[in-house]
Symmetry: C2
Subunit: 180 residues, 2 copies
DNA sequence: GTCTTTGTACTGACCGGTCAGTTAAGAAGG
DNA sequence: CCTTCTTAACTGACCGGTCAGTACAAAGAC
């Protein structure tokens, strides 16, 4: 099997802990305990602590970029934008820890996995920017895309962290009502 | 003098390092070296590592909330919103490290200074929410506010970190063109 | 004017604990 | 019995926090 149960348990536990506390503040021992394995297994399966996080992020990157690309596929204008917002919110709900991690780490420098984070950012924002460039050619595509992306991302996290009782539809409506 | 030069040097160095690397990843020794003082001085002046960060955040909190409150004072509707966006961008430019720190730490839990961070968030978002509630009573004030706040904040950081050659006016225009 | 005292700001060597990473031995399974 | 995977014990580096001591200025004491 390509991804053993042990690997999956470790990745899952690590993602949750790191999203909440940060990379350096989370010890490998804690991750191993939460995953129900011994510390050595983490090193056997991922080589190093940062190796583990590169794996986590690479996995999340692939998932998110694929989802966003698929969501915009064949659509144009406002319709494409609405589909992107909806898909991003869906992904945030499905993988809130990864979303937190992204927000927390995007503007830092020097970590080994920074490139991967930067990659999701560029890919995701690129998808938004493409729609913007096509639909509103008079606007600055990347600044506009980051505003749209930021609005969706922070509203999504506000929802999951502080107002978890709301529905995706509530949040979607709020975001779409504020952007034009 | 209330705040000695030593204190200021330490706060300044600490804010820069922590915004870039995170709290746990930054050692007190590193901060002291960057500030040009001995490690002991950090503990003499702030008591503990987390005491130092509570001081940093409290300072930033006061500055930001006062600025936003002042910006919305006496204004209404779209005019108030535009003033808030402009003021938030101005603050982000003046104190980019504090902005990074906010983004990185808002969705974490359990740190001793978390309450202070939460406080800026609530205050800042509250100022936006008040304008929303007054101007567009049919919209959800807090979800809308977080979308507006998120759009401005992430566009602002995109600007400072990835496109520093742009002007505040460029970013302001992009954000205001995207929100309605 | 000089000597002693006192208080404050600061220093850096040091200590105890924590943590990433290693290793050697054992289980699981074919 | 051999490969793959897992484990517990261990190691050395690093880090937060402490503390005994230095520097120095202000304030009496004579």
């Amino acid at each position: 099997m390509r991804t053993s149960a042990t690997r999956e348990h470790i990745v899952e536990a690590a993602l949750a802990l790191v999203a909440d506390r940060g990379f350096t503040a989370t010890s490998v021992e804690d991750i191993a305990t939460a995953a129900g394995v011994a510390k050595g297994s983490v090193f056997y399966n991922f080589g190093s602590k940062s190796g583990l996080f590169e794996a986590i992020i690479t996995e999340g990157v692939g998932r998110l970029t694929a989802a966003l690309r698929g969501a915009a596929e064949g659509l144009h204008g406002r319709e494409a934008l609405e589909s992107l917002v909806t898909e991003l919110l869906t992904q945030i709900r499905a993988h809130p820890d990864f979303a937190k991690l992204m927000v927390a780490e995007t503007f830092r420098t020097g970590r080994s996995w920074q490139d991967s984070i930067r990659l999701v950012r560029d890919e995701s924002m690129g998808t938004f920017a493409a729609v913007v460039a096509e639909t509103w050619p008079e606007r600055d595509p990347f600044l506009t895309a980051s505003a749209l992306f930021g609005a969706t991302l922070l509203a999504g996290l506000e929802w999951l962290v502080f107002q978890p009782d709301r529905t995706l539809e509530d949040v979607r409506a709020a975001v779409l009502a504020t952007v034009r």
